[in-house]
Amino acid sequence: MSATPATLGATAAPAPAGSPRRALWQRPILLAGLLAAAAGFFVPGLIDTPYTLSLLINGVVLGIAAVGIGFLMHQCGFVMFGVAAFIGLPAYLVGIGSAQLGLGLTSAVVFALVGSTAFAALVGALVVRARPLPFAMLTLALAQMLKQVSMLQVMRPITGGDDGLTMSFDGTFLGLTQSALGKAPSFWPLAWAALCLVILIAWVAAHSRFGQVLRATQANEERMRFSGFDTYWPRLAAFTLSSFLVSVSGVLIALNSAYASPELLDFATGGHALTAMIVGGGATALGPLLGAMLYTWGQSAFGATGYLELLTGIAVVVMISAFPKGAMGFVLQIGHRLTGRKGP
């Protein structure tokens, strides 16, 4: 079988038919990616202000969420309006695991990821049966429901209600204490490693047969069913995987700030990730990250002027109008023109 996913929008160009597998050093993009991933760990040494490093961390965490929803959008054509559900829920679960269940920090993180992913699988069993627009609204409703639940009086002992949940961790996570997790230079390696892992997972999934089945289903679901493919379970798996990837960002937020609030479950939180994904472009694994970095930088720069919402709105409209395939799509277009390769 010679099927390659490239013509359905995956980032890798197809290998010529019959060509041998190339060694790592013969794949410049992959090599550059690995070098960039390794170099990223040394960023704190290059940044002279704590504020800039914090900004980068925010961009990375937002990028993780954007990569997660970008995967779902590109592979299945589904937009998760309620992405905040899988940012806020795992954040709360870290705190609940620590405070209510008495878990050590590592166990609390595992509890949060497993709990959030299991919740995604449960909810996904229903919502992935819907068409794209109802799906988007159902996920939004889900996030709003979770937000309301977190603010209920009866939930106050567990979630802190309107005040949110301040966390106190017992033990360490990958050798990092609560104090270390709260400091940008010591938190950065964890955030960067998580980002690299999330991008790797998204890339591998997109370039696998699983990704090909998802994209073919998006292209012509009826034909897929008439070709013997079950289209429900792969879609559910994609939603669950996407939610897991987004959940990593929620866990990082909890670890860094030791705090979870109903605001994390609000549409605005998810809106940042959605905007970042669209600005960067969802067709590649790196597009959402680029969008998140641009968006985070923009929020900081615009906030300083006092016209945050206005300038953000204008910038987003300009970006989407000028770069319909996102910033990464534009970068790839330039790259293809310079190298003479045929783009996607």
């Binding site: 079988m1 010679s2 099927a3 390659t4 013509t7 359905l8 929008g9 038919a17 047969r209 090909q212 089945v213 994209r215 073919a216 292209a219 012509n220 009826e222 034909r223 069913r225 008439f226 070709s227 013997g228 493919f229 079950d230 289209t231």
Partner: protein, 232 residues
């Protein structure tokens, strides 16, 4: 092989198919289904393949009632179909979509299908960029993959010229005989149906008029009336 019992499909008060009983019992035959517009031909095909749930009646394959079975189950069990409007995967090359379906259903003779439908020149082209006639052949080739025992082709010659229609039917006959596939073909081109099919069923206004050998069906008064109307 295939048996349809008292099949009725109603859309509200409109009976698109009314109490149709039909049997195709032999393997390796080409069975044509004809009828004027609105006769219920495509509805029959949709009901047999599971695309549409019948209001009443049953669909049996080799004695097993498959009426409630989902589409993908039927395909994996050997019932395939092509579509009246070409249904391919936009964005995938011809090779990629054949490979994709072959990877799911298994097809050791994919090259034979490619050559039989003359798809080799367009293998590496995006399927939505090739000529319409070639897309029709891709659509049918996808239905051939996995060695189905029963193929249902919905107007496979739609939009093709006379020459292309004849070539297509010749391909079908060759593959049907060679692979022992039973193929049910809905077609508006009655000349091609009577020329190439082993058996023919005629429908009109959702009801089965007659089923039998091409010559019998062609000379049946009810079929003549359905197509030509009564004499003034």
């Amino acid at each position: 092989m295939l048996r349809v019992e008292n099949l009725t499909v109603a859309y509200g008060s409109v009976q698109a198919l009314s109490d149709v009983t039909l049997e195709v019992s032999q393997r390796g035959v080409l069975h044509g289904v004809i009828g004027p517009n609105g006769a219920g031909k495509s509805t029959l095909m949709d009901a047999i393949t599971g695309r549409r749930k019948p209001t009443s009646g049953r669909v049996l394959v080799d004695g097993e009632d498959i009426t409630q079975r989902p589409v993908e189950w039927r395909r994996r069990k050997g019932m395939s179909r092509s579509f009246q409007r070409t249904s391919i995967f936009p964005g995938l090359t011809v090779r990629e979509q054949l490979d994709l379906v072959a990877s799911q259903l298994g097809e050791p003779d994919l090259d034979e299908i490619i050559d039989a439908f003359e798809l080799r020149p367009s293998l590496d082209l995006p399927a939505d960029s090739i000529a319409y006639g070639d897309q029709r052949r891709v659509d049918i080739a996808l239905a051939m993959i996995g060695k189905p025992s029963l193929m249902l082709l919905d107007e496979p010659a739609a939009g093709l010229s006379t020459t292309e229609t004849i070539a297509l039917f010749e391909h079908l006959v060759t593959l049907v005989r060679h692979r022992g596939v039973t193929a049910m073909v809905v077609e508006h081109d009655v000349d091609a149906v009577f020329r190439f099919c082993d058996e023919v069923t005629a429908l009109d206004l959702g009801r089965l008029l007659v089923t039998g050998k091409p010559a019998e069906v062609r000379s049946d008064e009810r079929v003549i009336t359905a197509y030509l109307g009564t004499a003034a």
